[in-house]
């Protein structure tokens, strides 16, 4: 089963809100939609994304539990060939790249 990691993203949250609004849809069906979303987004990011972004900042905190890394960085610069984005604080949640079938959120 694919990571449910991407449900708390702009795209994932929009989907969840839309499903909540559709009252005629059964909760079981809504769950199936989300599971399909999980599979789709995981394969899309793995196969259809080609660009590369570098980022550098200072580490505020880190955590590793249940094979999930959570970082909070400060004063980060995200660099792509084209442009640069600076942020004061960024939270990074990262799951293992090798498919271990973890369903933890």
């Amino acid at each position: 089963m694919a990571y449910q990691l991407y449900r708390n993203t702009t795209l994932g949250n929009s989907l969840q809100e839309s499903l909540d609004e559709l009252i005629q849809i059964t909760p079981q069906l809504a769950l199936q939609v989300l599971l399909q979303f999980d599979k789709a987004i995981n394969t899309a990011l793995a196969n259809r994304v080609r660009n590369r972004v570098n980022f550098k900042g200072s580490l505020n905190t880190y955590r590793f539990c249940d094979n999930v890394w959570t970082f909070v960085l400060n004063d980060v610069e995200f660099r792509e060939v084209t442009d640069l984005v600076k942020v004061d604080k960024v939270k990074i949640v990262a799951c293992d790249g090798k498919n271990t079938g973890n369903t933890a959120e």
Binding site: T61, Y62, R63, F64, C65, N67
Partner: protein, 303 residues
Amino acid sequence: DMEQNNSLPPFQGLASPQGALTPVMPMFSPMMPYGSGLTPQPVTNTNSLSLLEEQQRQQQQQQQQQASAQQSGMPGGSGQTPQLYHSQTVTTTTLPGNTPLYNTTPLTPMTPITPATPASESSGIVPQLQNIVSTVNLGCKLDLKTIALRARNAEYNPKRFAAVIMRIREPRTTALIFSSGKMVCTGAKSEEQSRLAARKYARVVQKLGFPAKFLDFKIQNMVGSCDVKFPIRLEGLVLTHQQFSSYEPELFPGLIYRMIKPRIVLLIFVSGKVVLTGAKVRGEIYEAFENIYPILKGFRKTT
């Protein structure tokens, strides 16, 4: 004027013949004990993991150490040197200038006589502490997953290692926290820093809701390093000290010297750098280095 000299007020330190007009700091007071050993000890059996208490305790220890160093009458005198109280009246003509007669430091029972210096001087090099490993028992079972999920700067991978690895920035240290409640603290550069860091970790655990205590804190290992500033003939050293040394340059570039007294392991390198480890107290590191230094001097590379 001579009248004044005859009736000296009691407990006036230097019986200065110039008269009582010379302001003299009372050097001899019966109220000040000569290192009676009755210095009050702070109560250490507190259950509080308050860092303020820990820092106060460390400051008090430093003050006591300084105070007892002064009272033991270090030659050369830091602080108050005990003086003999001369009770007899003195009738002498006043000396030109202001120098009081009784200025020399008489030998009192409290002034230690410095032993004759040994044939070789001390090295003049002090090994610097690089790492201290200590352990403490928090005295209660811990739920490591709760700690890993709620504390900051923690790692927990039970498949690989059955402890939470937590770090703090000040003092820069790493702790291994086990579900039994026992904890290892590594990375500190001094004994007090190690203890302070361990107390900080204990407080983190306590704030997460566990009834953490601070039992049986003990320094388990101390590592020091220094530089003798000359190259060393390791091959020569291993030949003459083969019962203590092991040197296999193809395996490891340093000579491993296992000193018996104190029981310290030294890593000695061609460059003259020395690493000392295995100490339970700081003095063992210093003693081991003072022992090895003359030996190393004997194997100094001359080319």
